[in-house]
């Protein structure tokens, strides 16, 4: 037999074996194919191997090398097929595999509950067309008081009730200062109204500061969300409707809402807003119709536009939602607290 004929025969066996192994769809069929090609007595490869003797002696090294390659290829094709088929469960289960062992948790961080609350509030208000606005936390008295209709002699301006900044350089600070940490986010409303013309529909969110001795429900730094809507015809009925829709959304229930008369310099009429939730009236925040003096301060004509504003403490909503009982935990940076959210 010529070398070429021998090599062709090997090629044929390899190709047939590969096809047969790949085609086998059961372990039995594969075993059948294995016997047919790799059988020790009358397998096709064995048969081909026997033909080696007929090859010219000088050409035997070439033939032998190829024979080896083909044997390896056929064996490997069989193993591949065998692996493919034996994965099916005929093997005994691994006794060391315990699916009840706990999973390996990825190292995940947590988003602060106040951030989660703020995002929730902004999302609900966003669906009612309110966009987020922000402003500086260090303010001048004009934005924090004057424009908000808080006159010079108003107790809200008292140095003991505000964080006025020390003036640069030496000199004693007496009375009120010309910069302070804002005591309310209403300052943002002023800044937005100064820049834009109505209609305006915004919520302002952020940190505010008031000197309060820290305890379970007080902290000198907290967050407020304030809403403002100014347009040509805005009524207190609109205010009540918006707040009711908000409450239904936030509390996830049909809730009753009520207004209680209150007093804020920047709104008239002014009300406290309560929600009836689980048979309990919950204080939500303050609200009212924007005071004409506020409109005048920002150059709006109060006879042409009207508007409502409302404000609420983010911490209180957050604490109620998550069952947090001490406001100080929120600002402790304590991971044992933070990783619960």
């Amino acid at each position: 037999m010529s070398l070429q004929q021998f090599l062709d025969r090997l090629e044929q066996v390899q190709s047939d074996a590969t096809v047969a192994f790949e085609a086998a769809s059961t372990v039995d069929a594969l075993e059948e194919a294995r016997v047919a090609f790799l059988g020790a007595k009358s397998g096709q490869f064995k048969d081909a191997q026997k033909l080696m003797g007929t090859v010219e002696k000088t050409e035997k090294p070439t033939a032998g090398k190829r024979l080896n390659e083909v044997k390896n290829a056929i064996t490997s094709a069989f193993e591949t097929a065998n692996e493919r088929l034996s994965g099916g469960g005929d093997e005994a289960p691994d006794p060391t595999f315990d699916p009840t062992l706990p999973g390996i948790a990825p190292a995940l961080g947590h988003i602060h509950p106040i951030t989660q609350t703020i995002q929730h509030l902004a999302e609900i208000m966003g669906r009612m067309g309110f966009e987020v606005a922000e402003g500086p936390e260090v303010e001048d008295p004009w934005h924090n008081f004057v424009a908000l209709n808080i006159p010079d002699d108003h107790p809200a301006r008292d140095p003991l009730d505000n964080f006025y900044l020390a003036t640069a350089g030496a000199g004693e600070d007496v009375g009120e200062g010309d910069r302070l940490l804002r005591s309310q986010t209403s300052t943002v409303q002023i800044r937005v109204m100064q820049e834009r013309k109505p209609p305006i529909r915004i919520i302002s969110l952020g940190r505010v500061y008031r000197p309060d001795s820290p305890d379970a429900t007080h902290f000198p730094m907290f967050h407020q969300m304030e809403g403002l809507l100014v347009d040509r015809h805005v009524t207190m009925a609109n205010l009540k409707t918006v707040l009711r829709v908000f409450a239904n959304n936030y509390l996830g229930d049909e809730v009753e809402i009520r207004f209680r008369t209150s007093f804020f310099p920047f709104t008239e009429p002014s009300v406290e807003v309560d929600f009836l939730w689980n048979d309990q009236w919950i204080e939500f925040g303050g609200a009212g119709m924007v005071d004409p003096n506020v409109f005048r301060a920002v150059g709006y004509d109060p006879s042409k536009v009207s508007g409502f504003a409302f404000g609420l403490g983010v911490e209180r909503l957050c604490m109620r939602r998550h069952g947090i009982t001490d406001i100080r935990d929120l600002y402790s940076g304590d991971l044992r607290f933070l990783r619960q959210f």
């Binding site: 350089g169 730094m221 207004f259 209680r260």
Partner: protein, 671 residues
């Protein structure tokens, strides 16, 4: 303010049960804070807002009840017989400080017998939390709790020269008050003085020298109006807050002063005997007439969204004490300083009519709203950081000097300070978030042995450049603390940049900054060269100071700076369909060569064929390579966008890299 049910019943017939009444009062402006049954009386605690000084007396509260329950108010009749010499024969009054005291009145009562008050008077005062003193002082307090006008009684015999002068305090003037403590009066305080010295701090507290005692027979009854700001400043300065100062700070009824004075005279003579001297010494006043206010129903509808019957409006306003002055014109009562404008009257009508009458089905028009790009940015930042194992903290914006002085990578200017400390002596507006995060990390370590990887997004307050008293520059920063591996934290920062669409590598420049381990502080630069952040390893001494194990890597990025180049809408970039070829390279080079230098060489040599350059590791073998040498292993992945690269193409690029690295960096290929 505490009110007694029985006391209120002297001025109005209460037709509702207690619960129904307090609910109604809560909704209309006098918030119910609680109640207590004392003996056979119900004492109710009401929250009175600062605009309603008129409700700091029982008559004011009774008026509210009357208007809410459709009853009429029964104010007491004041009657007494004056006799004896005219008051002006015993007393003179001079007002040198009308800015602080627009109206001052004094009456004289002679021949009283000071003693204990009758039981009904003592009981009335006790129930509303006022201490019982003697029949004269008790009456002045009773009248204050009745009509909200504070009064003061002086012992006429002790008023030097029978002369009362209202004047500013003199420099370094002091007074011993009736609490028998000495107070140094602030410069602009308003005092009541006699010919010799101050005998009372106006509107705040009387003086011991003229106090009414058992020996007193002749009285001066002071009823006055002191301006709120003056009283408030003085009370604050002296830390002396009294029921009197509380009421003056909320303004008294300027037309009710004389009534209160006469009422006190009536009750004193009834209880303690004596005779009221004819005449009253008055300076200033009377208060100017109140201007009429127009109230249009159209405006009421415009603001409230409901219509209210004209008769109902009129009934409410009359009940509150307003008087009609022609159609739609109303004159507010003198005790209601808060009613000056149409909108104020609208609120009065609305609150008495009831806010429950305002409907909840008036939706606002639909309008689009969009999320600010900044909120989109911070949302991605938070997602990436939490996915990387960092937890969001929130820490106070104002820090102690100790914290402030640890690191300040953004500015050398001194931190702005609040005048009053916020927490634990903290006065400084923070210039960086890192000290607060370090403190939190240390707290977690000391309290629970937790290694806390934290981040915070908050404002930092950089003091203004030129104008020392201007507003600071405030911007949102992201502070990160965590890990002992600089590269791991840098990887988080780099991933964060990619997640917000910044694909260029951030520039890195070393800078000197206190609080960082030497040589590890770097500024991070945007492609335009501007600094967007800093990072580094905190110094060992700082870690020790906070008793927390190091090393600690920190980073702080300006989110405003990142936003200026962020692209939150990713754009697809084509993927090459051709296979890539990876080659590992191991170069030995001097220690001084930075990865950045090596990367530039590779980038230049491979040019458009560079699919990825991946750093693997550095190791050192001084025996084989000599001192000051390092081996850098890295992988170069090459790929063409237009064809399949051959092995020869790749060999060519690699050869180019090696030869450039050899020429420019003195690097040699290790086989």
């Amino acid at each position: 303010m505490l009110v007694s049910w029985k006391w209120l019943s002297r001025y109005v017939d209460i037709t509702l049960a207690a619960n129904a009444l307090t609910d109604k009062m809560s909704l209309s402006g006098l918030n119910f804070e609680g109640s207590e049954t004392v003996e056979d009386d119900l004492v109710i605690d009401l929250e009175v807002t600062s605009n309603r000084g008129d409700c700091l007396g029982h008559i004011g509260v009774a008026r509210e009840i009357a208007v809410l329950t459709d009853q009429s108010l029964k104010a007491p009749n004041v009657e007494f017989q004056a006799s004896g010499p005219d008051a002006s024969e015993s007393l003179s009054v001079q007002n040198e400080y009308p800015e602080a005291c627009p109206q001052y009145t004094a009456r004289v009562i002679r021949g009283v017998k000071v003693g204990t008050s009758p039981e009904w008077l003592q009981q009335s005062l006790r129930r509303v939390g006022i201490g019982v003193v003697n029949n004269v002082v008790d009456v002045t307090n009773y009248v204050m709790m009745e009509c909200a006008q504070p009064l003061h009684a002086f012992d006429l015999a002790k008023v030097a020269s029978g002369s009362i002068i209202v004047r500013p305090a003199k420099k370094d003037e002091a007074i011993t008050a009736i609490d028998h403590r000495e107070y140094l009066l602030p410069a602009d305080a308003c005092v009541i003085a006699d010919a010799d010295a101050a005998i009372a701090v106006a509107g705040v507290m009387g003086g011991a020298s003229t106090e009414v005692s058992e020996a007193t027979t002749d009285l001066v009854i002071e009823a006055a109006d002191f301006v709120p700001l003056s009283v408030r400043r003085t009370a604050r300065a002296l830390k002396l807050h009294s029921p009197s100062s509380f009421r003056f700070e909320r303004r008294v009824d300027p037309a009710g002063i004389d009534w209160a004075s006469r009422r006190a005279c009536q009750l004193i003579t009834e209880i303690a005997g004596g005779h009221v001297a004819p005449g009253v010494l008055v300076t200033g006043g009377p208060a100017p007439d109140r201007a009429p206010i127009i109230l249009r129903r159209s405006q009421m509808e415009r603001l409230l969204g409901i219509t209210i019957d004209a008769n109902a409006i009129a009934k409410i306003l009359r009940g509150l004490g307003c008087t009609e002055d022609g159609t739609e014109h109303w004159i507010p009562p003198t005790w209601r300083h808060d009613l000056t404008r149409e909108v104020d009257l609208i609120e009065e009508v609305a609150r008495v009519h009831g806010y429950d009458q305002i409907p909840e089905n008036a939706p606002i028009p639909v309008t689009p709203s969009s999320t600010r790009p900044f909120d989109g940015l911070t949302q991605r930042v938070r997602h990436l950081l939490t996915a990387s194992g960092f937890t969001e903290a929130m820490t106070p914006s104002v820090v102690t000097a100790k914290l402030d002085e640890t690191v300040s990578p953004w500015t050398d200017r001194e931190a702005l300070q609040t005048r009053t400390p916020m927490l634990e002596g903290a006065k400084r507006l923070r210039r960086t978030l890192l000290p607060s995060l370090l403190q939190s990390r240390a707290f977690n370590w000391s309290s629970a042995s937790i290694t806390a990887d934290l981040f915070e997004i908050a404002h930092v307050y950089l003091p203004p450049d030129d104008d020392a008293d201007g507003l600071p520059s405030e911007s949102y920063h992201l502070g990160i603390i965590g890990g002992d591996d600089f590269r791991a934290t840098k990887g988080v920062v780099e991933s964060l940049c990619q997640r917000i669409g910044i694909h260029e590598t951030l520039g890195v420049t070393r800078f000197d900054c206190d609080g960082f381990a030497p040589g590890t502080a770097v500024q991070l630069q945007l492609p335009d060269g501007s600094t967007c952040g800093i990072m580094g390893l905190l110094s060992t001494s700082l870690c020790k100071q906070f008793k927390t194990p190091g090393p600690i890597v920190v980073a702080e990025l300006s989110l405003d700076a990142l936003q200026s180049v962020a692209n939150l809408v990713p754009q697809q970039r084509p993927v090459s369909p051709y296979p890539s070829i990876k080659r590992d390279l191991n170069l030995v080079m001097p220690e001084t060569v930075s990865w950045k230098q090596l990367a530039e060489i590779v980038t230049h040599a491979a040019d458009s064929k560079l699919a990825e350059l991946r750093y693997q590791e550095t190791y050192r073998n001084a025996k084989q390579d000599g001192d000051g040498q390092k081996r850098v292993l890295f992988t170069v992945e090459l790929q063409s966008k237009t064809e399949t690269l051959s092995g020869a193409d790749a060999d060519h690029v690699i050869h180019d890299i090696v030869s450039r690295a050899g020429n420019q960096l003195d690097a040699k290929l290790l086989s």
